[in-house]
């Protein structure tokens, strides 16, 4: 079987079925469910096989179009969900990551902006793969933190914030690496480390929001504990929303008309 976008729906169906089994099994078990881990792992590996096959078929890393970044996001969401489940044993986390991963896979099936196989010269750089994959991994970690933020706004538990801390530190670390490798690449490609391109600007906004979270956790600004906790959860939600702007929302802003990052809109 040739692995390309024509066969993606088969991989999607298999992956989602595996993830669903994993979600149900984890939700039913009060302890770490090994079958749930196995099913979730198989679902994520299914997507990994597709990514590897597509990479080989296109003869370039599938990291360029919006559809391709969604693919990585779904994959890393599966990885992050699994790590979070194994590490903190939240029985609900796999259900949420399944929904997020499945939504992005289904968007790729229904709305495929994926047939353009060209890779413009500016993207042919050693920084291309680390820059995008690191970002996608960071998005998935911060996606898990977002889920915790949403839950925490309605029903806070002491353990939520310590889990969010781990996710935010990991996500912000990868966000930092993604942003700075991007800056070094931008210098090689366009002559400036930072040029306030809309994509860069929204990346800075997102990064700064997570820095606020980290610093709010380190300092006590004198608010009541309950209010402070709600502010922290709200920060997680706000960070994830600006992250969506940075990822694809920015493409639809009038301010981004002259953005140098519009290569991922050409096939949108």
């Amino acid at each position: 079987m040739t692995i390309n976008w024509d066969t993606f729906h088969i991989f999607t169906i298999i992956a989602i079925l595996m993830w669903l089994c994993g979600s149900v099994l984890s939700a039913l078990s009060s302890r770490l469910s090994r079958p749930a881990v196995l099913f979730s792992l198989l679902g994520t590996l299914t997507l990994l096989v597709f990514i590897a096959g597509l990479w080989s078929y296109q003869q370039r890393p599938p990291l360029r179009t919006m559809g391709e970044t969604r693919l990585w996001y779904s994959f890393f969401m599966g990885v992050s969900g699994l790590i979070t489940y194994c590490r903190w044993r939240y029985r609900w986390i796999l259900s949420f990551t399944t929904v997020l991963s499945a939504v992005f896979c289904i968007i790729n099936v229904v709305k495929p902006e994926i047939h353009d196989q060209s890779l413009m010269p500016a993207l042919q750089s050693i920084w291309f793969i680390p820059h995008v994959t690191v970002y996608m991994f960071s998005y998935s970690l911060l996606g898990c933190a977002f889920i915790i933020g949403c839950l925490g706004l309605f029903r806070s538990r002491p353990s939520y914030l310590s889990t969010a801390d781990e996710l935010v530190y990991g996500g912000t670390a990868f966000l930092t690496v993604g942003m700075l490798t991007g800056a070094i690449w931008a210098k090689e490609a366009w002559g400036n480390y930072w040029s306030w391109d809309p994509k860069e600007t929204w990346a800075l906004i997102t990064w700064s929001i997570y820095l606020i979270y980290i610093h709010l956790r380190l300092h006590n600004p004198g608010k009541s504990a309950a209010l402070r906790t709600r502010i922290l959860y709200a920060t997680l939600v706000a960070g994830f929303l600006t992250l969506q702007m940075c990822w694809y929302g920015v493409n639809y802003l009038p301010a981004a008309r002259n953005s140098v990052h519009l290569y991922n809109r050409t096939t949108n």
């Binding site: 353009d116 196989q117 060209s118 890779l119 413009m120 010269p121 500016a122 042919q124 750089s125 002491p158 914030l161 310590s162 801390d165 781990e166 530190y169 990991g170 912000t172 670390a173 990868f174 930092t176 690496v177 700075l180 490798t181 800056a183 070094i184 690449w185 210098k187 090689e188 490609a189 366009w190 002559g191 400036n192 480390y193 930072w194 306030w196 809309p198 600007t201 929204w202 800075l204 906004i205 700064s208 929001i209 606020i212 610093h215 709010l216 956790r217 380190l218 300092h219 006590n220 600004p221 004198g222 402070r228 906790t229 702007m245 920015v250 802003l253 009038p254 301010a255 008309r257 002259n258």
Partner: protein
């Protein structure tokens, strides 16, 4: 938050808005070398002095407070939101737009008084925090140092060095040497050397999009017979001098055999300092992942 925090930020934003409204954008170009170097040295000295000799003063304690961290990041976000939501233009184009938003500099916000003020407070705060955090602890905190000092160095060099940046575009032809270049604003200027296109090669995808293109360019001094040749590709600039790089940015697409290519010449003397800051912050980011949240805070979490 204390009332002084609100008063400080309100006065700061209000006064910078008034200055912006009546005087236009911040005159960055005035602060080129050596003035930026002098200001930078003075700035660092004041930060050092505040931490070493006046750390007990209320103003210094205020600048070192957690609320200043919060508000300087918050205003950095708000300023960035203006840049991210409003189309940014050249200084001349932005000035031509009528209305109060234009007078407040939102169409060229990076060089507005408001944003410069926010950056100044942010950098002062970050510099003070970095110095205190590095010198006042018994053990050297490497992660803290890399993240804070790295960010400070990168932003400080970008901020102070911006007046020294020059970006020029020049078409380079096969048939004649050229040194007539243009600034990004369209003003003509002359390089101190000639550029001549010796060879150009482009490959295309089936859909006509360029896959790869490269140019061989000859650079010669007007008063010398010797010339140096170099090959340019996208992502592979040529470093002419320590602070000057030449980029291949485009070519003649109107013909199947291009008659010229377009080069961009970027003079950025502060780029090595910026790179140092970036590498330090990168290392700090990796440590952030490797070591995770501070362990002593976990106990605090359990009490929330």
């Amino acid at each position: 938050m204390e009332r002084s925090t609100y008063i400080f930020w309100s006065i700061l934003i209000l006064s910078s808005s008034v200055i912006q409204y009546f005087t236009g954008n911040f005159p960055y170009s005035v602060f080129s070398f050596p003035l930026n170097l002098i200001i930078g040295a003075l700035w660092i000295y004041l930060i050092y002095l505040s931490i070493s000799s006046y750390s007990a003063r209320p103003a210094v304690r205020f600048m070192l407070s957690g609320s200043t961290t919060f508000f300087s990041l918050l205003f950095l976000i708000l300023g960035s939101l203006v840049i991210g939501l409003f189309p940014q233009m050249t200084a001349a184009d932005a000035e031509a737009v009528p209305g109060i938003l234009s007078r407040l500099g939102v169409y060229n916000f990076m060089s507005s008084w408001i944003f410069v003020t926010i950056l100044t407070v942010f950098l002062t705060h970050l510099g003070m925090i970095t110095l205190r955090g590095t010198t006042r602890h018994a053990t050297f905190r490497l992660r803290f140092f890399l993240n804070h000092a790295g960010l400070w160095i990168a932003v400080f060099a970008t901020f102070l060095g911006s007046a020294d940046i020059s970006t020029l575009r020049i078409p380079v032809f096969f048939d004649r040497p050229n040194r007539e270049a243009y600034t990004l604003e369209g003003d003509r200027t002359y390089l101190g050397y000639n550029l001549l296109l010796k060879d150009f090669h482009a490959e295309y995808y089936e859909n006509g999009a360029p896959r790869h293109y490269q140019a061989v360019v000859s650079l010669s001094s007007p008063d010398s017979d010797t010339a140096q040749e170099f090959t340019l590709r996208v992502n592979h600039p040529y470093s002419r001098t320590l602070g000057e790089d030449i980029y291949l940015t485009g070519y003649d697409t109107s013909s199947s055999s291009p008659r010229y290519c377009i080069l961009q010449i970027v003079v950025q003397p502060w780029k090595y300092i910026q790179l140092l800051g970036i590498i330090m912050t990168l290392a700090g980011g990796i440590m952030l992942f490797a070591f995770g949240p501070r362990k002593d805070r976990k106990k605090l979490t359990q009490t929330i």
